[in-house]
Symmetry: D2
């Protein structure tokens, strides 16, 4: 198979799975980019995803950061596998505010069972981009479990 | 001041702040209990907060777990302080599914600047309760920053 | 098999494995208690395990906390399995100083492949005990890998 | 002050503090490189720092990774500050074995009170280098506390 086809297939797989995530639609998150081992997800700050001070809630930031990490991992997993997050840690460096919040997930190391991925989250404002959070996640490739694919 | 009044004040403070969190309303999360150093938040699984396999999304689980930890910390902070999460880690032990997801946050150690809190998340199903996630979070008491109170 | 024999076997297994850990001897750490799903390890503060301010180094605290978590997990694993740490997070709450540092590891949830354990670390001083660190760790049961047993 | 002098001063400060860490000497760890926001520490695998399977103990890996993160942070802190780790998380990707273990710490974001740093740990073997662990740490600048400087 050609490299281009692999990427295309991986992207289709991730896009199709992303579309099934009710939470991403609820948060207004969009899947921006998919490449082998890398996924970018964005959202726009609105009152419906805020915390009490008006910033984007850490939970919403974490949700797109975790999802970007998970799908980055999925792009390198066999077609028969589904992906589940087993743990993640996120450091929140600055309030999430601005025009747009962008989470860029990348695989650090993919293994047969466990994959480590890392996501940087940036706040874009007036054309400037600022790192506001850093997440590391362990993703598990799950095979043959009912209802768990992609 | 009497202990009962303190609790009542703390609860009022948390309830008022919780009501400002757009994300909690969007997720359908409800503030169940507030006590000094402890907060419980719940939500009901619906397709609008799902991940691709139909379970509640780890991001939604994390959002209520982080919020429970943060408000547990806030109950022990001075009235002049606002609370921000600086980092959290969550271990996801089992798929989040069932009748109701309940996050119980407790302060482990409160300090002048930093507080450590821990949240257990349970899935309730047919009257049974199962631990599905464990979160530890560092919360920061922020004073005198514009727009950051409670 | 009787419960008492199980505990005895688990303790023997952990004690035998602990004795192979060069680092524990180097740090002066001692294995205090072993029960199904629980392990306690202690060490005495000395200049040879200090950081620059004279406290016990976070690395030494982490080493006994991780080891207590790992062996707590091992007590619940099949005899054919070895245990490896895949990740841990530690929150350091106060300087590690006093007469004795004690790490108490407990299994939170044991699974076929992954186990979550948590360790509380206490500093004992003049008969008083103070929580100074909290660790959560994911342990992996490894089967059939050369050189990895217990 | 010239950039070169700053670096030299930062290096002297870190080298002097490192020399006070009893644990680093005990582990046989050496301070390899210091630059503004970056520190490299190495050690050689020996039985005295092993775990039960003969690999370098996760506690020893964590100790040098945490120390590299902490000193990377210190290079960007005011001369009046001391550095303390408030939390770290480490993902262990492969057994720590080989000719040499090298931890490379870098500041991700430095703040007035809190700094986030990240350390990559590599195992060198036969001229090849492999990523075996990834740590993220929150470091705190402590001012005016007895005995806490550098």
């Amino acid at each position: 198979m050609h490299q281009t086809e692999q990427v295309a297939d991986g992207e289709e797989r991730v896009r199709s799975s992303f579309a099934k995530q009710g939470l991403m639609a609820t948060l207004g998150a969009t899947l921006e980019k998919v490449s082998p081992g890398g996924v970018e997800i964005a959202l726009r700050p609105t009152p419906s995803i805020s915390q009490q001070h008006g910033f984007v809630h850490a939970g919403a930031v974490s949700a797109i950061a975790d999802t970007a990490a998970g799908y980055a991992a999925l792009t390198l997993m066999p077609a028969s596998a589904g992906v589940l997050t087993t743990e993640f840690k996120i450091n929140l460096l600055a309030p999430a505010k601005g025009d747009r919040i962008v989470a860029t997930g990348k695989v650090v190391k993919s293994g047969r069972t466990l994959t480590l991925a890392q996501t940087e989250v940036f706040a874009e404002n007036d054309g400037q981009s600022k790192l506001i959070a850093l997440l590391t996640a362990t993703l598990m490739a799950v095979q043959g479990r009912d209802g768990v694919s992609d």
